[in-house]
Symmetry: C2
Subunit: 346 residues, 2 copies
């Protein structure tokens, strides 16, 4: 994703454009991911609908003009709407950011740089437009190199979208680094790419090349370390995104899976007719869906307990272990030690 017009990592100061979605953990997940995990400073958040002046210690502003007081270099579009198109409400903020001299990064399926009006404006203003989801050139089908890696590959899978697969991969990666492991977070979506500075948004590649793109990511990742935490996407049971999920699974060729689930949800968010099967069935489905040449086992259950209080969360974790016989925890709430142990066998 390198672009010589972008601010370098050392000087990058980010304004996140989160208009309308700062309070929404689903459609605002890019915002939250960048705020929680990016190595560059997030100096302001833009959401004129947000009820408050501060979010996680970061100033919340109503306009790009107000944000300039915090001296940003780059605006990141922090909203990932279904279908991946730039909402009209955000377009004005993007235009204002360009006009104010900020570089803009976005993860839509419709690329900023392919929009003649935005592209011309960016050229006039001397700023860069970085489309995090734009696939690299030269993708193809996998070569089989993914089956030959000298690395432990762990993929996060889940019972739904937007329940924490990226967060779990990041938390277990960070815990592994703390333990001195040569750990690598492998980004497969726009937020992961915004955070880590590399990766491919596998949902945006040509469908035939999903597994090939992911193979390229794990091959590249294995040059950086020998413990790869691959960011999962979608769900095998999601009516929209299951194809990406299975291609990502087979392309990353993991030995281990961490099954993520949002405790308390019995159907897909926004899809009441799509029931989520019991955890033990999901474990079974995921293990059976491995390529015969590359068996994978579910090493642990990662619960997102954000709907529960502490006691309920502990009870849900105990119930998940009782149901599946697997270690379970909520790494965001209770720390990543237990699930990291489960994956590393320590």
């Amino acid at each position: 994703m390198a672009d010589d017009k972008q601010a370098s990592a050392g000087t990058k100061r980010v304004l996140v454009l989160a208009e309308g979605y700062l309070a929404d953990p689903h459609h605002g997940k890019t915002t939250r991911g960048v705020v929680d995990y990016a190595s560059f400073p997030v100096v302001a958040l833009l959401d004129s609908t947000y009820d408050g002046d501060v979010f996680k210690g970061i100033p919340v502003v109503d306009s790009v003009t107000d944000a300039l007081a915090f001296d940003p270099t780059t605006a990141i579009v922090g909203v990932a709407p279904t279908g991946g198109r730039l909402p009209d409400t955000l377009r004005a903020h993007v235009t204002a950011s360009i006009t104010a001299g900020l570089h803009v990064e976005a993860g839509m399926h419709e690329f900023l740089a392919d929009d003649p009006e935005l592209a011309a404006l960016a050229r006039d203003c001397g700023v860069g437009l970085c489309d995090l989801r734009r696939p690299p050139e030269g993708l193809s089908v996998p070569t089989g190199a993914n089956l030959e890696l000298d690395a432990t590959v762990v993929l996060t899978v889940g019972s739904d979208c937007a329940i924490g697969k990226m967060t779990i991969a990041l938390e277990l990666h960070l815990e592994s680094l703390r333990r001195g492991r040569r750990s690598v977070f492998v980004p497969t979506g726009q937020t992961g790419i915004a955070i880590a500075g590399w990766g491919i948004a596998v949902d945006a590649v040509v469908a035939d090349f999903i597994a090939g793109a992911v193979e390229q990511l794990v091959v590249d990742g294995s040059a950086l370390g020998d413990l790869l935490w691959v960011e999962g996407q979608g769900s095998l049971i999601h009516p929209m995104y299951s194809g990406v999920t299975l291609g990502l699974y087979h392309g990353s060729a993991p030995q281990l899976l961490v099954l993520c689930h949002k405790a308390g949800m019995d159907h897909l968010e926004g899809h009441a007719r799509h029931a989520i099967p019991p955890l033990r069935e999901l474990v079974d489905l995921h293990e059976r869906s491995a390529l015969p040449a590359c068996p994978a086992r579910v090493a642990a259950i990662a619960l997102n307990t954000s709907l529960l209080d502490d006691d309920e969360a502990r009870a849900a974790i105990a119930a998940a272990t009782a149901e599946t016989g697997l270690p379970a925890d909520d790494p965001v709430r209770f720390g990543a030690e237990r699930l990291t142990d489960a994956c590393l066998g320590t």
Copy 2:
């Protein structure tokens, strides 16, 4: 796929460019599909490496110049190489076809019309370039309309690529038409599109939109009839294409599956390390992989017995039924009656 520069169905006379692959049932599958099932006449086949002058009653020629004696209007590239790029050996024949005034249709991932040299030549020669795999504009994720169709949807799935999923869908569709049913073949790949004149190559769409594209196809198909035979792609156990397969499965939301298998193959073609599980396990995997909101059952096993003699074929069919408890047959060899009965419940 309509293009007003193309010859209309009534006058279209096709030369298939099959250079190097006429004898190859895998990489020449587009050629064979068009020869066997298209409603327009195929007047010549081009393969300078083919040992013979006639293939299935159609003249085989060495060059476009030689083909002109048969008065073609359109050249179809009949080769579908892995990765979807136009082989150099075929490029010269494409150029010769354009120069000779033929429209050209092709199903590569790299589009003819995006090749500046070919596009300029076609413009100069007044012919059309039709990229069968080019996705339509405006695709997105599914809306749920696929779960509301007033139609029986049957999807062909398989143990490998290029073993006959399109052929089985076509054979059962044609048998259903003979029975007076309002039957529709739903094309999902370049060969099916070349044959039927509509469809979307779902392996060429943006990965996030696989299921959405297929939903659009079954919705469109349900306007044409109430019995839809959806052309399957790839395999849930294929290391390259499984993502497309699952997205196609969930997007088409079938009630019934026909499981296709090439009798005698115990591993994926060209992938010796990828074993094919027993048929009963494949039946189970496919039924478990249905969306919880849209259960699907395997109605029948379609065996491709082309590696076997008649007695061996009958034995393989009996063995498939014994193993799975399901009706089995090779519709190409023994007729489509039995598998059509199995799907229609008659």
